[in-house]
């Protein structure tokens, strides 16, 4: 049976008009500007840039406003915009060792050169609501001290000097790009890192937490967490040399994990790695834990059957736009599908009744 699905244009139009009105809220309350969102909701902006896979704070602020603060909807808008951009090229890999650090802490080395720099952190706050923020008020300037200009060395460098940590040998192998070719399994580490850095923060956090609770436990220490600005360089063909095309804020986390050694490797520490756009500390730590769990095979560890070790499971479900697209499509009209299901259930019931009647007649 064919069910007409035409119609609803007027209802849709009116629904969108009401959406615009609800988005604006009470017109007696001042409208939010994009600059206010960018400056005062900057961690939401950072999340939208990281999972939207596009570094542009003004666009992320616009997406948040348009999405009424629904960050997954905002990420969807950014992903859609991103596909319209011509790609000029790829940067040379950013040098996080040259980062101008706002924050840099280590849970493993108290006296690391460059020190423990807390930066603008929520850590050590009491998590009590601050009612002063409910009223307008000027914020006093943050204190200053003599600035450090030299680069801050990576903490894993110190373990590397002693050969106590697995090396990360540099390569110039061009990485696969899951925004260009669909992901295939098994996926190599560069592809896994790309999927994790744009993956849903909540999902990656949950997978990371599962490793801490014992599902493929790999006992991670945060060797280093740093947040700051790095320059982005790209080769410009018409110039014949690389120039800086901008600078971005990144959060980088390196974990140091126990490793018993294998047939070919002596006992040493191994690493998990997280690198995320913006100040996105929870996501970077979670990414590093999941990265480490997914490395079990190359490190010769056992498959414990833990979800965080299953790359097909982790990587296929980490993307919140794919997930929400599939999840939410089931609310859209399925009249024809459902009509056939309805026919099927009626037929099965009819057959069941007939069988029952036949059995009763036989008895």
């Amino acid at each position: 049976m064919y069910v007409a699905v035409k119609g609803g244009e007027k209802a849709i139009e009116n629904a969108h008009a009401w959406l615009a009105e609800e988005r604006r809220g009470d017109p007696g309350v001042a409208e939010l500007s994009l600059a206010q969102i960018r400056e005062q909701l900057s961690l939401a902006v950072n999340r939208v840039m990281a999972e939207g896979s596009l570094y542009d704070p003004d666009l992320a602020a616009l997406a948040i406003k348009q999405a009424r603060g629904d960050l997954i909807e905002a990420i969807f808008l950014i992903r859609a915009y991103r596909t319209t951009l011509p790609r000029f090229g790829c940067s040379t890999p950013v040098d996080t060792g040259g980062m101008a650090c706002d924050r840099r802490i280590s849970a493993t080395f108290k006296d690391a050169p460059g020190g423990q720099v807390l930066g603008p952190t929520f850590d050590y706050t009491h998590r009590l609501l601050d009612f002063k923020l409910a009223a307008d008020g000027a914020v006093p300037a943050a204190p200053s001290a003599a600035p450090r200009h030299e680069p801050t060395p990576h903490i894993t460098e110190f373990l590397k000097d002693e050969g106590l940590i697995q090396d990360e040998p540099a390569s110039d192998e061009p990485p696969g790009d899951l925004t260009r070719e669909p992901m295939e399994f098994p996926a190599d580490r560069p592809l896994r890192l790309q999927a994790l850095t744009r993956g849903d923060e909540g999902f990656v956090l949950g997978m990371a937490y599962s490793t801490q609770r014992g599902y493929a436990r790999n006992h991670a220490f945060v060797g280093e967490l740093r947040i700051g600005t790095v320059a982005v360089e790209m080769e410009i063909p018409e110039l014949g040399f690389a120039i800086e095309i901008g600078e971005i804020v990144l959060t980088e986390c390196e974990t140091v994990n126990q490793f018993k050694g294998s047939k070919t490797e002596p006992p040493q520490f191994t690493r998990g790695y997280g690198l995320v756009f913006g100040q996105s500390e929870r996501k970077a730590i979670a990414m590093a834990l999941v990265d480490r769990a997914l490395r079990w095979e190359e490190l010769g560890e056992d498959d414990l059957g833990a979800p965080a070790q299953d790359q097909e499971f982790v990587l296929s479900h980490a993307d919140n736009i794919q997930a929400t697209g599939f999840l939410e499509h089931i609310k859209l009209p399925h009249y024809v599908d459902f009509q056939s299901e309805l026919e099927l259930v009626r037929k099965l019931r009819r057959e069941a009744e007939e069988r029952l009647e036949a059995r009763e007649a036989a008895e």
């Binding site: 570094y55 040379t92 603008p120 001290a145 390569s171 192998e173 899951l178 095309i245 690198l275």
Partner: protein, 153 residues
Amino acid sequence: MADQTKIANGDRRAWLGLLARAPAEALAALWSDYGARPEFQWLRTPEIGGVMVRGRAGGTGAPFNLGEMTVTRCALVLPDGTEGHGYVQGRDKTHAETAALIDALMQTGDADAVRAKILEPLTRQVQAARSARAAKAAATKVEFFTMVRGEDQ
């Protein structure tokens, strides 16, 4: 037109990088004060696009794709044949045009004036902003001290 070989790529790299990173408003203000409006023809009109930013696994290992950033680029030529290129972060076409014009002027006899009136003040602004952040970070550096232990008393 200046002899291209006389301009070290290092110099040009430095000013193109500064023009790309500089806040668009700061550059626009300095350019407006400078007052020059050189004639030019487009080689490539300003175009907004994306650049895939890469990182390295473990900070030093194999490259991977981190995500894209928005970039605006353009290219132009002065009547004397000097070419200027603009590659700037973000989506501001005027920013890219100003960068390309300054890149071109820096290869002409105007270079010293442009350097003194635009590039040097811009460098100072960018450095001051960077130092101010570094100074705030430095104030949050933890100074450890050892607690007095029982056996010392």
